[in-house]
Subunit: 351 residues, 2 copies
Amino acid sequence: MSRLDATRESIAPVDRSLEAAVRRRLDNLTKPPGSLGRLEDLAAQYCLATGTTSPAVGRKRIVTFAADHGVAAEGVSAYPPEVTPQMVRNMVAGGAAVSVLARHVWAEVQVVDIGVNDLLEGAPGLVAAKVRSGTGNIAEGPAMTLEEATRAIEVGIGLAQAAHEDGVTLIGTGEMGIANTTPSAALSAALLPCEPEEITGRGTGIDDERLAHKVSVVKRALQVNAERLGDPLQALAAVGGLEIAGICGLVLGGAACRMAVVVDGFISSAGALVACRMSEHVSGYLFFSHCSAEAGHALMLERMGAQPILDLGMRLGEGTGAALAMSVIEAGVKVYNEMASFESAGVSGKA
Amino acid sequence: MSRLDATRESIAPVDRSLEAAVRRRLDNLTKPPGSLGRLEDLAAQYCLATGTTSPAVGRKRIVTFAADHGVAAEGVSAYPPEVTPQMVRNMVAGGAAVSVLARHVWAEVQVVDIGVNDLLEGAPGLVAAKVRSGTGNIAEGPAMTLEEATRAIEVGIGLAQAAHEDGVTLIGTGEMGIANTTPSAALSAALLPCEPEEITGRGTGIDDERLAHKVSVVKRALQVNAERLGDPLQALAAVGGLEIAGICGLVLGGAACRMAVVVDGFISSAGALVACRMSEHVSGYLFFSHCSAEAGHALMLERMGAQPILDLGMRLGEGTGAALAMSVIEAGVKVYNEMASFESAGVSGKA
């Protein structure tokens, strides 16, 4: 059995038997029941996912997968492909948005070369896990082979398991890859399914004309790969990307290790969507960090039954939304752990 | 001239002349322009409020004003009045929700007895600034005299100025006071203005029957005090509360000291509303932390032209929303200060 299949099969449902005890504790804290809203729900989900009524937040880590995309040649992005390796260097140097926001919330960032079309020599701390140097152009054929997609997923699984062994309990997804909203849109259109027009957005900021072109590229990708969209793994290999596969693997591996997995924005949600289609039990482990300003993300979240934690008009990716949301989830767990109860504080209950 | 009047007159508009330079810097950071959404807006507002293109976040402090309300005798709350002093003790002991969330974001909490109907002896760290032991019942007459309202506002002004001297740059509002959504609703109905039904909610969690009663109490308060609603100070004295007056003062004093002021939820917004009606320049200094689940808060925010940062279904008060939002504002300032530019990181611009 492949590592991917073994991981899929090992994912257990979250432990719903704990829910009553967790809610009882939350209701006994010195506040009106339910008055901390989502913070209470997040704490409860964290308990069920990690399988305990005595939760702790250990290390927090964001794993940012970087890869290039053959479809960039179609002119779907506002930025040139050399920005992918440039931003990888910026991230490991600590100057990217995700670097700043992760420091702010005391999370680590692990930057992973899973498919950048550059040697990336001398990038300190970069995790070298290149499966291939960028994907093929999905408008002309498959992004990668099934074997390559499986290997990229297994990179993510391995990093989730390594994080678990390092004491990480809250793991976030992130990505960097010029043009990667295009495969994310194509993959989501294939799996949800939905119309390319509904799910294709402006990415890093393209004008109306280029957006219309991008939609036509997504349609071509779906047409030329029509015979290869039969299951989630096939669709990922056909119209996805290497970082999207890595995210899918991180989500599967995180769920298998019973970690709380924080999903970043549009591209990360596409990776999480593939994972959810591979295992019915994954969704209970997922915390959707925010609703991106990228058109199509709201639809994706709705169709996945996901309630995003934040809505700050962000559309950068990298793991920036995951970083901010991690802090909110941790706040919920601290409320659960650290607040006084009516009894311990000597506070009267309802009149 | 009273300290209140001197403070009102000293509030300058935020420095809009800095906006172009601030936006230029944000646009040169290694991300597509505008792709960090509200984080960029918050950083820009923080710069304009504090009057610099080189912002720093110093100490962060939440000031939580506690007071009792004569109108509690009308049975408008789910909890008995003795909970006010009990919760004050819980807060100074560090077991309340605001204690936990402030620690999480590295903010201080200052708990202020501005009108609790209890001696509160032996509460370590409590700021003793009692103006009177609870207000009168607004359903039967004025909450307090104009002189008492002025003194309570000046307590807030003094605490804002002391915070500024302590190196606080980000100051948040909070409150504790059983029954205090009732005067907040009455005050908002008088000042916005709006119908009592639109602005009166379930507070700590009352049923339909008690909610209908609460609306009738708000109506009586507005009727019996109809001659005393002529200006914001009069309205505050007539149908407000001592903690609401303290919040109003903290907002005025914060703006006068050019601090960024983070407004918590429903009750804090009522205090901020009074402050905004006292000085046209205050609003530029205000960051509305979240949209409360308390019915009426969304309307209040809309009518004040406020865009809340978070929407987490919270309805607890104390400063809990302010704590979480402070961390998001600080994240925006760190993005502004710490991210690399396209030039410094050697990243290519748009193709």
